[in-house]
Symmetry: C2
Subunit: 335 residues, 2 copies
Amino acid sequence: MAGLLVMPELRIDPIIGRRVYIAEDRAGRPSDYGIHEATGRVAPVGESSPKAHPNCPFCAGNEIHTPVASATVADGAGRWQIRVVPNKYPAFRLDEVQDGAFGVHEVIIESPEHLLDVTQLGPTRLVEVVRMYRDRLRHWAAQPGLRHGLVFKNSGCDAGASLEHIHSQVTALPYVLPTVQLELDAAGRFYAAHQQCIFCDLIESELAVNQRIVSDHQGYVTLCPIAPRQPYEMWLLPRMHQSRFDLLTDAEVEELAGALQETLSRLQTAEPGCPYNLLLHTAPFDDAHAAAYHWHWEIVPRIAHEAGLEWGGGVHICPLSPEKAATRLLTAKKN
Amino acid sequence: MAGLLVMPELRIDPIIGRRVYIAEDRAGRPSDYGIHEATGRVAPVGESSPKAHPNCPFCAGNEIHTPVASATVADGAGRWQIRVVPNKYPAFRLDEVQDGAFGVHEVIIESPEHLLDVTQLGPTRLVEVVRMYRDRLRHWAAQPGLRHGLVFKNSGCDAGASLEHIHSQVTALPYVLPTVQLELDAAGRFYAAHQQCIFCDLIESELAVNQRIVSDHQGYVTLCPIAPRQPYEMWLLPRMHQSRFDLLTDAEVEELAGALQETLSRLQTAEPGCPYNLLLHTAPFDDAHAAAYHWHWEIVPRIAHEAGLEWGGGVHICPLSPEKAATRLLTAKKN
C-alpha cells in the first residue's frame, strides 16, 4: 500500500487565499455508508422526464401552487417557457424592513416541462434562460435599497435542491454578499499594487500554463481552479474584463449560453447525475469595482462531504486534483 | 396559508458577524427527495451495536488494518479502550515539508467495540476520551513547527464520516486555522475596546436573557448561538475564562466530559440519529491570545443542506430558531 501513496499537497487560492489540500488517496478509503466520495452519482438528477408531473409545482398546469409570476417568456402560441415567481418560502422579503430580513428571493422556473438538467433545454432555450438571469438582476439593480445580487442554481438533492424540475434562484440584498466581498477586497488590493484585474491576470497565467483549462472560445474561458473545494470545480469567466453580469449585451448573453451549455455538459458526461451549484459572482450594483473586479460563474459539484476540517477549521480537502479534473472534463464528449 | 407565515428574520453572529436568516417556513416546503430538512434522522447512526464487526478497521481484533498506535489507554487487563493512530488517508503529513502539506492528522478510536455514538460510552469512559483529546493537543503543542490544533468528530455520513465506529480526529498545523483566526481577530478587537473577553461577555448576556441556554452547571455553559448555521447548533463553553483547551486540568476534563455527555444526549433525544460535527475552537499553541480568546466546542448538526446561498453568497438560512431549539433541547429527557 505504502508504495502507491500519493502525497497530499497544499494549494492556496490565488484570489482569496483559501487553503485546499489535494489528497487523492482519500478517495480510496473504506466506507460504511455505501456511497463513495468522488465517484459519482449521489442524487437523482440527469434523466429526461419531459411529461408533466401532477405533484410538481413548477410544471405547466400547476401554476396555482406558485405565486403570481413577476416575469415570463412565452413561445409563439403564448405558452410560458420561462416563469419567474417570488419564492414561496423566502429567506428575505421586500416588505421585511423591521427585522432586517429585507431582500429579494425569486425562483426562475426554466421550463414548463419536467426537465431535470438545464443542458436538456438545448442552446436556443438556454439563451433565454441566461437572458432572464441578466434581466432580473438588471431589474433589481434599478430598485432602491438593494446593493448586490446573486443568481444561483441548486441542482440535485445533495446540492440543496428541494425540487428536481429545473430552476434557479435570484436574490438581491441591501449589502454586499460576504463571499463576493472577500474577492472584492483581494481584487482591490491587487489592483492598487498592479493596476490590473487579478482575474485577468489569473486567466492569462492559466492559459499560459495550460494544465487546468477546460474550454476557451467565443469570449469565455472555463478552468478548474488551482485550489478547488470539490472534484471538478470549474470557473467560467469572460475573457475580456467585465465587472457586472447585469451589464451584458444580448450578443454576450448568447455566447455565454453556449459556453455554459458546453461546460455543464462536460460535467454531466464526466460525472453523470452529479449534483452541483451554479453560482454567479458579480460586482455590486455600482461602478466602484469596475476596474478591479471580474464577474464569473463558479460551478461547484457536490461530491465530497464537507466535514469537521471544513466546518471547524476552514480548510478544504479535495480528493481530485484540478489537473486530473481538467483532463477528464476535456476528454468528456460534449452532448 | 398566508396567515400562517412566519416572517424570516436576520440574525448576526456577535463574534464574527456571520449573517443567518431564520426562515422557519422553509421547513414546510415540498420536496421531491424524500428527506426533509430539519425533521430528523438522515444518517444511520444512533443504535447500539456492541459486537465486533468483521469488516470494521476500528474494531478490536482488526488492528492490522490501521497503522501502529501512537497512544493508547488500556483497561486493567491490558486491553486497549482508546487507540490513537495516524490517519491512514491523511490530508497532512509530518514528513511533507516539500509541498507544504506539513501537519498532523490522527484518528482517535474511542472504543474497542462497535459503538455508533459517543454518548454510549457512559461518563467514566468519556472522561478518558476527553482527556485523550487534551493529551494529543498537549503533545503536538510541544513539537516544533506546529502552531495550532483542531479536534473534531464527524458523526454520521451526512457529517462527513466514512466509518460509523465512534472516532474523532486530531490535526495540528503550522498556521492558525482560518475559522479560529476570524474569531481571534474579532476577540482581539473587542478586548482592545473593552478590556474584556468577547465570549465572557456573550456568556454573561446569554445567561441574563435566558432564552437560548441549554445547560449551565459544573463550570460549563451550553447555549444555542443567536445566529446558528444549522437547527440545534450548540456552543459549549467553560464559564470561567480560559483560552487553551490543551491546558485543562484533570478535574476540568472530568467536568467537561459530564457537560459533553449531557449536551450530546439532549441532541440525540431531540433528533434521534442526527448527524453532527463536534468542533473544538481553541487558541494557538502560544500565550498571545490568553486574555482575549475563550476556547469552546461547537456542536453543528448536519440537518439542513448547504446550498447556493451558503456556497455562493456566504449567508446561511436556518429553518429553526435558536430559541425554539433551546426549548426543545431543554425538554429533551437526558439519557
